[in-house]
C-alpha cells in the first residue's frame, strides 16, 4: 500500500521498524521534534537531538529507501520552564535551513499552562516570520478538549496565519469539528491505548468527508505501532473502500499538506 507516515518518532524505533515500514509501502516519513520520554537537562541536549533529526535519522531511513523529513521546536512537555524553553529556541534557527526541515512542530500544549501557551505563541510567530508550515500537538485525555480550544483561540489572534498551512494533530471526535470548521488541517493519531483506533478514524472520515485530514501512527518510545496507518488502510478495505479512495487518504492528503514546504520532495 503506497502511503506516507506523516508523524513518527523514529529516533525511538529500531531498524527492524524501518524495514517493516519499507516493506509495507511507506513512501516518506516525517518526524516532529518531541519529548524523548524524559526531560533533557540542558539546551545542549536539544542541540544533539536536532542534529539527530536533521542529519543522522535521514541517513538511517535512506538505508531502507525511505525519505525522512523533520519538524523542529521545543515540545510543550518541556516548555513549562519558559526561560529554559527560550534558551532552546535560540538554537532552532541554525537548523531551519537544513534540507529536510519542513517547518515548526510539534508545538502545542500539554497541561494547558500559561507558560506552555506563551512558548506556543512564540513558535507560531517564528513560523510566521519564516513562512513555515506548523504542526500542532494537542494534549492527551481529559486535557485535550480544553487544550484544543485554547490553541484555536490563540491561533485566531494571528491574523496573518494561513490556516491551510497548519495541522492540528491528535484530534478525536470531540475536537475534530472545531479544528476543521476553523479551516485547519486535522491529524488523527492511531494509538493502541489512547487517542484513536483505526475504526474510529474511519468513522470520522465518513462523518467529516474532509480533504484536510491525515492519519499517523505517532510511533515513539511508548506502546505504539509503526504500522498503524497501513493497518487502518486494511480496515478501510474491509469496509469496502476502493484502493483509490484509501490512497487519497493515506498518501495524497498528507502529500498535499506537506508539499506546502518546497523541501518535501518524494
Amino acid at each position: 500500500m503506497k502511503y506516507i507516515e506523516p508523524h513518527a518518532h523514529m529516533v525511538s524505533r529500531t531498524t527492524d521498524d524501518y524495514e517493516k515500514l519499507a516493506l509495507a509501502g511507506c513512501a516518506a516519513i516525517c518526524e516532529p521534534a518531541f519529548w524523548a520520554g524524559f526531560d533533557r537537562t540542558s539546551p545542549a541536549g536539544f542541540y544533539d537531538y536536532y542534529r539527530q533529526l536533521t542529519d543522522y535519522e535521514p541517513k538511517r531511513a535512506a538505508k531502507f529507501g525511505i525519505p525522512h523529513f523533520c519538524w523542529l521546536c521545543i515540545n510543550p512537555k518541556e516548555a513549562e520552564d519558559a526561560g529554559f524553553a527560550r534558551e532552546v529556541m535560540q538554537i532552532i534557527p541554525e537548523f531551519l535551513d537544513k534540507p529536510t526541515v519542513l517547518g515548526i512542530g510539534e508545538i502545542g500544549l500539554n497541561k494547558n499552562t500559561r507558560s506552555e501557551l506563551a512558548i506556543f505563541e512564540e513558535h507560531v510567530q517564528l513560523a510566521l516570520d519564516r513562512d513555515l508550515p506548523i504542526l500542532i500537538h494537542t494534549p492527551h485525555l481529559e486535557d485535550k478538549r480544553k487544550g484544543t480550544r485554547l490553541i484555536l483561540d490563540s491561533l485566531a489572534s494571528f491574523s496573518k496565519l494561513n490556516r491551510g498551512k497548519v495541522i492540528i494533530d491528535h484530534v478525536e471526535e470531540h475536537t475534530i469539528g472545531a479544528v476543521l470548521d476553523a479551516g485547519y488541517w486535522a491529524g488523527m493519531t492511531l494509538y493502541p491505548e489512547s487517542k484513536c483506533t483505526p475504526n474510529r478514524a474511519i468513522d470520522m472520515i465518513e462523518c467529516y468527508a474532509n480533504e484536510q485530514l491525515w492519519m499517523n501512527s505517532a510511533c515513539d518510545w511508548g506502546v505504539s505501532d509503526p504500522l498503524a496507518v497501513v493497518k487502518c488502510g486494511l480496515e478501510m478495505r474491509k469496509r469496502h473502500y476502493s484502493n483509490d479512495f484509501i490512497e487519497s487518504i493515506v498518501f495524497e492528503n498528507p502529500k498535499r499538506f506537506l508539499s506546502q514546504s518546497d523541501r518535501f520532495r518524494i
Binding site: N110, E116, L141, K146, E173, H240
Partner: protein
C-alpha cells in the same frame, strides 16, 4: 459502503468482547479492597451515554471525560494525564 449487516459481521464480536470486558472491570474494581477514585466515578457517569438514542455517542463520552475548565492553569504539577477530570 457496507450495510448494517456487514458492519455487524465485521465488528459485533469485537464490540461484544469490549462490553463484557468493561462489565468485568466494574466487577473487579468493586470486588477489591480500598477506595476507588474519581476515575471510576467518571467512567460510571459516562456509561448511560451508551444507551442514548442520539448519534455522537463517542463525542459525548469524550466530552464527559474532559476537563470543564477554560482558563490556562498557572503551573503544571505533573506531565501526564489520568483519563478523567479530577
Amino acid at each position: 459502503m457496507p450495510t448494517k449487516q456487514q458492519i455487524l459481521d465485521l465488528h459485533f464480536m469485537d464490540a461484544r468482547c469490549k462490553l463484557i470486558d468493561l462489565a468485568a472491570f466494574l466487577d473487579r474494581v468493586e470486588r477489591h479492597e480500598g477506595e476507588a477514585d474519581f476515575r471510576f466515578e467518571a467512567l460510571k457517569k459516562a456509561l448511560p451515554i451508551l444507551l442514548s438514542t442520539q448519534p455522537g455517542r463517542a463525542k459525548a463520552i469524550l466530552d464527559s471525560l474532559s476537563d470543564e475548565s477554560t482558563e490556562p492553569i498557572e503551573k503544571a504539577t505533573l506531565q501526564g494525564a489520568f483519563g478523567a477530570p479530577r
